[in-house]
Subunit: 277 residues, 2 copies
């Protein structure tokens, strides 16, 4: 493992860093960002994972959400992976909702995707081994949040590793990928047409299991993607039948943008910190 | 005057809007952004102008600074112009520090720049007539802030209109443009070689006059542009000789980026609100 620090900016007293490395799981060069709070009091520092949405890199959340103010306020590190494998040698699609920028945080089984599109293993094993080496005084406590496709990713990764992640939250997540156009397109390509294989990557299925972490979801009521791609009915019904703790908030006037995320980010950090401390 | 609303996002309770219009002063189509706080208490709303730096548009501050949280907290509108005239018919230069994206907030007198490069008149007359039509319950009180080239712009426009702007602040401003490479290059092109004509666009000269608004400046100590382009000695000496109120803060570890701006933006908003209320 060879990490290269390619950017470092002082931000709200802490450090916003960007690294490049070769990923074994993805078989390509990758970049990720991480924020380290100042930790002036030398306490144990927990870690929140942020997963971004379609078309994003690690830069979108780093540059547009203003999260650093909150990470410093709550003294928590934040790890921000890219959203897919990258590079000229990596399979891609002309559409913005498949291929590079659209990894869907799963392990693909179908050609031409299977070689590189293993974002689940990349995050849950490879970056998971790297993160503790970068967070001085890491407490070992982790939680996960994300936006849109990354909200799907946070829910799926958080629930598939329920003992590890203390809390899950999502902004405008794809809650039932097996039932909406974005998810059907991606799962058909990455996983094939056998829908049985889709279930382990669908939050609405995973929420039927017991022992899941507490979940907070915020959805903009004027999000143009909401009715077709982000509808909550199946997920919330399955959660309710399973007595799963879910707080679902619809916010009037808000859209799908980082202006929406920035507005409600303190609520999400507060939620996570209840379970990380 | 025909304004077209091209974007509107709910943000921290208020509205982040983007307009396009034809500018008479610049003889081209322009866009600008404006944030309107929620004004739930129906108070009079003051207006802060933000001027961006080299290569920026109105999007950089809107998307990267997180200022909307503060504008809503303090219930102030924020007007964000672009940094130069724009378009295929507008003179430009291959370098990023001259031409489009580098208007320097002055009125050019030299060809090929004189026709379009009138950012001073655009802001002080044309946008000044537009802004009150967009801010419901406008209090009539204004102040101005900016970054780098836009810090130069805020100081120059603020001091040339000292009766109008209640306060001026700047992040890493070009304080003595007549003496540094960015300023010498731009002033030579836009104003010609007669340095007498540069004085009215140089903050270090304007600060010699009496009756200027209070000024706050924040500079990152690790800003790579600082020693060559942003040095403060001449400006501060001229301010001191004139008993001009200037608070100049150098912040250890910070660079020239929006991570730096975001960190200290609350200090600047607090400073402005002392004089706007």
């Amino acid at each position: 493992m060879s990490l290269k620090l390619i950017e470092k900016h002082r931000s709200f007293g802490g450090e916003q860093c960007k690294y490049s490395h070769y990923s074994e799981a993805l078989q390509c060069d990758m970049t990720f960002s991480i924020y380290l709070p100042s930790n002036k009091e030398m306490k144990k520092i927990p870690l929140i994972w942020w997963l971004s949405g379609l078309t994003c890199t690690d830069d979108n959340f780093s540059q547009k959400s203003g999260f650093q103010r909150l990470a410093e306020k709550y003294q928590v590190a934040v790890m921000i992976p890219d959203t897919s494998p990258r590079g000229d040698d990596v399979a891609d699609d002309e559409a913005w909702d498949l291929g590079q920028g659209a990894g869907f945080y799963l392990n693909a089984t179908q050609d031409p995707w299977a070689k590189h599109y293993n974002m689940y293993t990349y995050i849950v094993e490879e970056l998971t081994a790297i993160a503790p080496t970068l967070v001085p005084n890491f407490s070992g406590e982790e939680s996960i949040m994300g936006h849109s496709m990354g909200g799907h990713g946070a829910l799926v990764i958080g629930m598939k590793n329920a003992a590890r992640f203390k809390a899950i939250s999502a902004f405008a997540p794809i809650l039932s990928p097996s039932h909406v156009p974005w998810g059907i397109k991606a799962f058909s390509a990455y996983l094939g047409e056998d829908k049985a294989s889709w279930k382990e990557w669908d939050a609405s299925e995973l929420v039927k299991e017991t022992g899941m972490p507490p979940i907070l979801i915020t959805q903009g009521a004027q999000d143009t993607f909401y009715p077709e791609q982000l509808e909550e009915t199946i997920f919330l019904e399955n959660a309710r039948e399973n007595n799963q703790e879910v707080s679902y908030n619809k916010e009037e006037g808000y859209d799908h943008s980082y202006f929406f995320i920035a507005t409600f980010l303190d609520d999400h950090f507060s939620f996570h910190m209840k379970y990380l401390r």
